[in-house]
Amino acid sequence: MSMTLANQQRIKIFSLLSPAYLWLTVAIFLPLSAMFYFSFLSDVPFGQKEWFYSTENYQAFFQTTTYAKLLWKSIKLGLMVTGCAVLVGFPCAYVLAKSIQGRSREALFLLVILPFWSNSLVRIFSWAIVLRGNGVLEIALNTILPFEVDVNLMFSTPAIVIGLVHSYLPYVILTSYLALQAIDDNLIDAARSMGANKLTILWRIILPLSLPGLLAGAVLIFVPVVGSFMEPRILGGRVGTYFGTVIEDQFVAVFNWPLGAALSFILLAVVLIILAVASPILRRAQT
């Protein structure tokens, strides 16, 4: 009976969605489709090079264990970085949303994102200065501590994790903040009146209610970290070879685009599968 009302709604949805998705189509989906097409070619079809269709690029992934090993390493890195960022960032967001009031909250809200505005390369090189032996961290610790310590975190997995957590922390802080700040304080009061301690309230009330925000943040971290290459390369040194760096090599150094594209689509597929498997579990956790 609400034919036209439904139609009106359809028009509304369409007009809200189409600009963004059209834009994405032109600038991302179509180019990526071209890339997807390339991933089935033997060589890029430019100049006078010869090429033919093949799935050899995808086969390459399975021919050696190198790629699978690196992909697994990247996923582990993604989980580790996401985990650290959530553990570090969520409490932060909570304090920001619930303990800080008034103007200073707005200011802190902005300050959290601001580091993001610096160039990532400059930021990572700065981390290098901090983390290396005889670097800022070691000097600072030695001036504070009464005994000599020797900190050289540079070129190690911890260095990569620190650099990546730093780069992506604002995502989880802000998305969690957005969700936390919307929780009605009365709910927390109600739980307290029933004798719930802080931990129970966190676990049973705050976490489930802020889960949409927390998850958005986690996804925004996990997904790019799995494909990251710059931070591992610069901060990881010898151990900094990941799936992302291999893809980068294909594009920047070796210029085997078809293989690079194939590897990225494998990466995308794996990431989507992980998200698809995780989402029902998480949705159940929310209730």
């Binding site: 009605d184 009365n186 709910l187 009061d189 109600a190 739980a191 307290r192 009146s193 029933m194 004798g195 719930a196 301690n197 129970t200 049973r204 009330i205 489930p208 209610l209 929310q286 209730t287």
Partner: protein, 347 residues
């Protein structure tokens, strides 16, 4: 299970004083009603007792011990919020069971007690729904069930039955009374329903603009209001005489209104609508105060009817069962009378 006392509590929001030197005793195991106009500080008082708000001065004692340093979750209270505060992410059963799970009750026992509580509020079939799938009154009942299921020492209820229809409300009142009686929970509840306050409670407290104006057993507050506000707020009151400002009562030149002994300097005299009798002719008995007037309106309101009578510049309201009101029509000249003992002296 524990007596509650509120001692000289003052609470400000910014420079607005929501509670102003409020004191009241709530003896162990009693049933207490807080009344007051909208915005008078009832919720604020409950929240202070619960421990969500910290008094600017004064203190709260529960079971003879100051709880000023004890956080909410250790006070062993059950609280029902005016806006319910149901957990939107949990089912009804989980909402009700929250307090039990916190107390690490065995899961059998938990299930049993959730079942009982839902039964009590007549929602047994809705345990699996989420709060947003319930009607207003259903939500209110879930909140009530949630507050009582843990058998707290003190039960604080903020308008627990306001969204319920009369028959359900009566059922709930009976249950609340039963629980309070059986387990002896000290219960403090805020209500706008005077009948509820008067019939259920052992003691009522009347708040106005953050001050506790009067407290005591319902009948005594009803019959001996300390001021005109209370007289008019709790029940209804026809003011029949007012102090003329020179310390003498002014009965508007109506000598047939008898001023009780010792009340000559009271601030006002009042009579309750239900104390009035209406008659077409002047009643002749001894000891009656009476006024002459015109029946302006007769209104049907179910069990009771209301008559509005205009007597000079005063408008009187009288209530009675329809069958107890003589057959008079609007516009007729009539007499209102009352036993002088029923005149309320407002000091």
């Amino acid at each position: 299970m524990a007596e509650v006392s509120v001692k000289n509590v003052t609470k400000k929001f910014g420079n607005f004083t929501a509670l102003d030197d409020v004191s009241m005793e709530f003896p162990d195991g009693g049933f207490f009603a807080l009344l007051g106009p909208s915005g008078s500080g009832k919720t604020t008082l409950l929240r202070t007792i619960a421990g969500f708000l910290f008094a600017d001065s004064g203190s709260i004692h529960i079971g003879n011990k100051s709880v000023d340093l004890i956080p909410v979750e250790k006070r062993e209270i059950g609280m029902m919020f005016q806006n319910y505060a149901l957990f939107p992410n949990m089912t009804i059963a989980d909402n009700v069971g929250f307090g039990l799970r916190v107390r690490k009750v065995s899961s059998d026992e938990e299930r049993r007690r959730i079942g009982e509580a839902l039964e009590l509020v007549q929602l047994s079939t809705l345990g699996d729904r989420k709060p947003h799938q319930l009607s207003g009154g259903q939500r209110q009942r879930v909140a009530l069930a949630r507050a009582i299921v843990t058998n707290p020492r003190v039960l604080l209820l903020d308008e627990p039955l306001s969204a319920l229809d009369k028959s359900l409300r009566v059922d709930m009142q009976v249950e609340l009374k039963r629980i309070q009686h059986e387990i002896g929970i000290t219960t403090i509840f805020v209500t706008h329903d005077q009948e509820e306050a008067l019939t259920l409670s052992d003691k009522i407290g009347i708040l106005r603009e953050g001050r506790m104006i009067q407290s005591g057993p319902p009948r005594s507050v009803y019959n001996n209001p300390v001021d005109r506000f209370t007289a008019e707020f709790l029940g209804d009151a026809n003011i029949v005489a007012e102090n003329d400002g020179n310390g003498r009562l002014n009965v508007s030149g109506n000598p047939s209104i008898k001023i009780p002994k010792g009340a000559e300097t009271a601030s006002a005299l009042a009579v309750r609508p239900e104390s009035l009798s209406i008659s077409a002719t002047e009643p002749k008995q001894e000891g009656l105060s009476k006024v002459h007037g015109r029946l302006v309106q007769r209104m049907f309101a179910g069990a009771m009817s209301t008559c509005i009578v205009q007597c000079g510049s005063h408008t009187y309201k009288m209530v009675a069962r329809d069958q107890d009101v003589p057959n008079l029509s609007e516009g007729e000249n009539i007499w209102l009378s009352w036993k002088s003992a029923q005149t309320i002296v407002i000091p």
